[in-house]
């Protein structure tokens, strides 16, 4: 379990992070999100000891950890941080050896990661000749080479195509199932919605909301009901409910999940209605709500 309390960081007069705290359990994926400049990367770099935090405490398994390297963590930086003149194999071996792994273990781990990422590019290929997405994958593998318990990923979905996006999502969920604690930040909110168990929303360094994602969505209460647009629905709606036509569907916004269920039951009685689905508020909408005064 990773526990963070009171994390703060100031760059000169600029408050980058203020009194940030959270807990990440095993099997949990915590999504860290917010506007640009909200302090996500600063938080991760403080956690990794890459920058010195001004205040705060970090505990792993109940034990306070020292300043410096969190060698049991796996960290994927936001930017590419690879030696472009090295081959994929040399890169992964280098980072494995930095973590005192034996060559056999590194080779075994490379095979596992290649299979997990469905990576087929030859090991001798120079990193500099890879596409942005493939470099991201190599960097991802380098971050996981030592099979860390705590994985910190800063914008892991950047540069990935749709297919690899899904594969990465699935990979992260598998990692969580294996008992890892995963922190990740992203501006791709659909991905956060799909895989995160909990969410930390930052704005200008301050925590706007934090907690279990389901609870946060339930607290907000807003839901959408989607129905095929040929069917008239206005007579079923209350004054504070809105409907929006998107393609062949009508999207109805309700204020509570209970109201959404009631509306669905009403609409289900209409034999003309074919498609009916209820969705809770999305992460994107949640962030907008929390960050807008």
């Amino acid at each position: 379990m990773l526990e963070v309390k009171g994390m703060s960081k100031t760059y000169g007069k600029h408050l980058a992070l203020s009194d940030c705290g959270f807990t990440v359990q095993k099997h949990e994926i915590l999504g860290v999100c917010g506007e640009n400049g909200s302090g996500k990367t600063t938080l991760f770099r403080c956690l990794m000891g890459l920058i010195a935090k001004d205040e705060g405490e970090i505990r792993v398994g109940g034990k306070k950890i020292d300043e410096g390297v969190r060698s049991s963590f796996g960290y994927l930086p936001e930017q590419r941080s690879l030696y472009t003149d090295l081959s994929i194999e040399d890169t992964l071996v280098h980072y494995g050896r930095l973590r005192n792994m034996e060559r056999d273990a590194i080779d075994r781990r490379i095979r596992e990661l290649y299979a997990s990422f469905d990576f087929t590019i030859a090991l001798k290929t120079k990193v500099g000749s890879l596409s942005k997405g493939n470099q991201q994958k190599v960097q991802f593998m380098a971050c996981l080479i030592h099979d860390p318990q705590i994985v910190i990923l800063d914008e892991p979905f950047t540069g990935l195509d749709y297919v690899n996006l899904e594969k990465t999502q699935s990979f992260l969920m598998d990692l969580a199932k294996k008992g890892k604690c995963i922190l990740l930040s992203s501006h791709q909110y659909d991905e956060l919605d799909a895989i995160c168990n909990s969410l930390l929303i930052l704005k200008e360094g301050k925590t706007m909301d934090y907690g279990n994602l389901d609870r946060m969505k339930n607290e907000v209460g807003k839901c959408t009901v989607k129905v095929n647009s040929q069917v008239p629905v206005l007579q079923h709606l209350k004054e504070d409910e809105t409907v929006e036509i998107v393609g062949n569907s009508s999207i109805i916004q309700t204020q509570t999940p209970q109201r959404a269920k009631k509306l669905m039951n009403l609409l289900a009685k209409d034999e003309a209605i074919r498609d009916l689905a209820m969705e809770r508020i999305k992460v994107k909408e949640l962030i907008r709500l929390r960050c807008t005064p």
Binding site: L15, G68, S71, Y75, S81, Y95, L98, Q139
Partner: protein, 402 residues
């Protein structure tokens, strides 16, 4: 293309590092232009004027003559002259090299003539007939040193010294380029800054040693091949035209014999290399630690200019002090105890003088202590520099969340 040039110039000159390096340069050049005043302020003897005491009171004229011959008269000085029957004896003359002995002889001869003239007021004929040249005796005979081998070794040390200029910058450039390429994020997530620092320094030293060994090995191979060809005669005869070796040395074997590599000389060379390496290591640590504060390769290159100029000034100052009297006392002696300058001055003193074990030990201890202090203090500054942490004060969190 204009934009590229302007962009490059902006990155090189519009930064804090350039400002600091220019201030450093201004300070160095101002010191150079006022070196005489600085020397006077610190009480260093004017160049060439050795303190000399005469057993009898000297007249003003004699004082003026003394200055002209490169001596300054003092009541009490280590180097002293006493009158003996038929001439003078110079006491504590071990510190004098050949040139100063000749100058002293000329001065004392002039002194004697002036006395004769003052006492007798002779005519020219009487002067020629009656004046007898004086005997000038030195209590310590001048040691005929095989100057050749010391010069040869000093030539090699000079070459190694100028390698320092490159070596000092090498590690700092590596750190700056890793920072610029964002590689440090991944590296420091796996290894701590302390290990990174030590790896950079030790890696740098190993690189230097390996490069040196490779260079020496390659030189040795080509020397052997040349020896097989003509025993090195053609090369050495050609080199003697430029005064690099004596004319008598016409083979590699003769060159080795000239070096006369006995245990004592071997120890001298080993000590010279030790002091040179200490100085190099100190410079390397300083440059590496400064690199953590630099933001780009352009800033790093701007900083190297003043450092090179400083090292060159040090070298030329060392050359100017390369005489036995100046190395025995005054600036040359003091500089051989100061870290960084000792990497030149101590080898010069070791090659020119017979130093006591105490002096060598003291200078060595100062060098090692400085190196170790910088090594550990530098580690803390390096760690804080890589983590963007202030060195001396802790940040205070302002505007905490309400």
């Amino acid at each position: 293309m204009t934009e590229l040039i302007l962009f490059g110039l902006k990155r090189r000159f519009l930064n804090k590092t350039f400002l600091i390096s220019q201030l450093l340069l201004i300070f160095l050049l101002a010191s150079l232009m006022n070196a005489d005043k600085i020397a006077l302020y610190f009480g260093f003897t004017p160049p060439g004027h050795l303190p000399l005491s005469l057993m009898e009171k000297a007249s003003e004229v004699d004082e003026a003559f003394a200055n002209a011959y490169g001596f300054t008269l003092q009541e009490k000085a280590t180097l002293s002259v006493v009158k003996i029957v038929g001439g003078y004896e110079v006491l504590n003359s071990a510190q004098l090299d050949g040139i100063h002995r000749l100058q002293l002889q000329a001065y004392l001869t002039t002194l004697s003539k002036n006395e004769f003239l003052a006492l007798r007021n002779p005519s020219v004929a009487e002067l020629i007939q009656e004046y007898e040249s004086v005997e000038i005796r030195f209590d310590t005979p001048m040691e005929i040193r095989a100057v050749g081998k010391e010069s040869f070794v000093f030539m090699i040390l000079t070459a190694v010294y100028f390698m320092v200029l490159n070596f000092a910058a090498m590690t700092s450039n590596e750190v700056v380029s890793e920072k610029s390429a964002n590689v440090l994020d991944m590296v420091l997530s796996a290894a701590d800054a302390k290990s990174h620092y030590r790896a950079k320094l030790f890696g740098g030293w190993l690189t230097m040693i390996l490069q040196g060994c490779f260079a020496l090995g390659t030189l040795g191979v080509f020397a052997m091949l040349r020896n097989q060809s003509d025993l090195g005669k053609g090369l050495l005869v050609w080199a003697s035209q430029f005064g690099l070796v004596d004319r008598e040395v016409t083979s590699f074997r003769a060159l080795f014999e000239m070096l006369d590599l006995d245990f004592s000389f071997g120890m001298t060379i080993a000590l010279c290399v030790f002091f040179l390496l200490c100085g190099m290591a100190i410079l390397q640590i300083i440059m590496t630690v400064i690199a953590t504060k630099l933001k780009s390769a352009e800033e790093a290159s701007i900083l190297q200019g003043p450092v090179y100029i400083f090292l060159l000034i040090l070298y030329y100052v060392a050359l100017s002090q390369n005489t036995i009297p100046r190395l025995s006392q005054g600036f040359g002696k003091i500089a051989s105890y100061v870290p960084i300058s000792s990497m030149l001055f101590m080898p010069m003193r070791l090659l020119s003088l017979k130093l006591g074990a105490g002096e060598i030990l003291l200078s060595g201890c100062v060098a090692i202590t400085s190196l170790l202090t910088l090594l550990f203090a530098g580690q803390r500054i390096y760690e804080k520099g890589l983590r963007h942490e202030k060195i001396f004060k802790k940040c205070i969190v302002k505007n905490r969340a309400k």
